[in-house]
């Protein structure tokens, strides 16, 4: 069972990384980050199950809280990007300063 959990964690990590590297939409990018968090969670739980320790579950619970805490501002930023730039294209996010009148 623990090996299956580790294989599932590897799968989750791979797909999360693939979503971040390959997909163009920012929504899929954030879904990939969530999958990476879940892979870490699964490894923590597998370690706890292997050594019969409760520490794995404690770590997994903290990872859950952290991923929730990371996601809320990310989604707020996503809405902000949609408003400011009018797109959710990851390739378009190259501007590090405020938009000026130079485009015309």
């Amino acid at each position: 069972m623990i090996e299956i959990a580790l294989a599932a964690a590897a799968l989750l990590f791979f797909v999360g990384l693939a979503l971040i590297l390959l997909r163009r939409s920012l929504v899929f990018w954030l879904l990939g980050v969530e999958l990476l968090f879940n892979a870490a969670l699964l490894v923590a739980l597998a370690g706890g199950a292997r050594w019969h320790a409760i520490g794995g579950q404690v770590l997994a619970l903290f990872i859950m809280a952290l991923s929730g805490a990371a996601l809320a501002p990310s989604l707020a930023l996503l809405l902000r990007i949609r408003r400011e730039l009018g797109t959710l294209n990851v390739d378009g996010l190259r501007m590090l300063r405020e938009r000026e009148k130079q485009d015309d």
Partner: protein, 164 residues
């Protein structure tokens, strides 16, 4: 037990492949939700019933619903634009990196000794004692962090209003 595990693994792989290939973000979120449901079953089989319940409550009930709300807020035209072009501009390089990463991961998993440890369930009582005993200050720190996140989201939203 082991067959159930393999079955879950296959279903998980199919769902994640769906997430990777689906073009509409709404369907992608639904597929991730199904994959996280499979993960909750896996957590239960790993002897963590409380974490399995938290996965359903927190991820399916809060985080993915937040995603759906966001998709509703960004409106259908942004989603349609994302559907038209779904891959990044430099994707072949990324795919090459991913292939190397997959080979490394497969080699790492392949040469492991089999793990023979039996899985015992560790229930919520033990978890509560660990959380409010030795890890009490970490729990408080997580609570403070979540409070700071609320403030951060409010600041982001206020900045959005000022900009108009």
């Amino acid at each position: 037990m082991i067959f159930l595990g393999f079955f879950l693994l296959v279903v998980l792989a199919a769902l994640l492949l769906g997430v990777l290939l689906l073009r509409d973000a709404m369907y992608g979120v639904i597929a991730v939700a199904a994959a996280l449901g499979i993960l909750a079953i896996l957590f239960y089989l790993l002897g963590a019933p409380f974490l399995a319940a938290m996965e359903i409550l927190l991820y399916l009930g809060a985080i993915l619903v937040l995603f759906l709300f966001t998709l509703m807020l960004i409106g259908p035209e942004a989603r349609a634009a994302a559907v038209r072009q779904s891959w990044r501009s430099g994707w072949p390089l990324g795919a090459l990196l991913l292939l190397a990463f997959a080979l490394a991961l497969a080699a790492l998993l392949w040469q492991q000794q089999p793990i023979t440890a039996a899985v015992h369930a560790l229930g919520p009582v033990l978890l509560g004692r660990a959380l409010f005993g030795p890890n009490l200050w970490w729990s408080e720190a997580a609570a403070v962090l979540l409070f700071v996140v609320i403030a951060a989201v409010l600041v982001l939203h206020a900045g959005e209003k000022d900009h108009d």
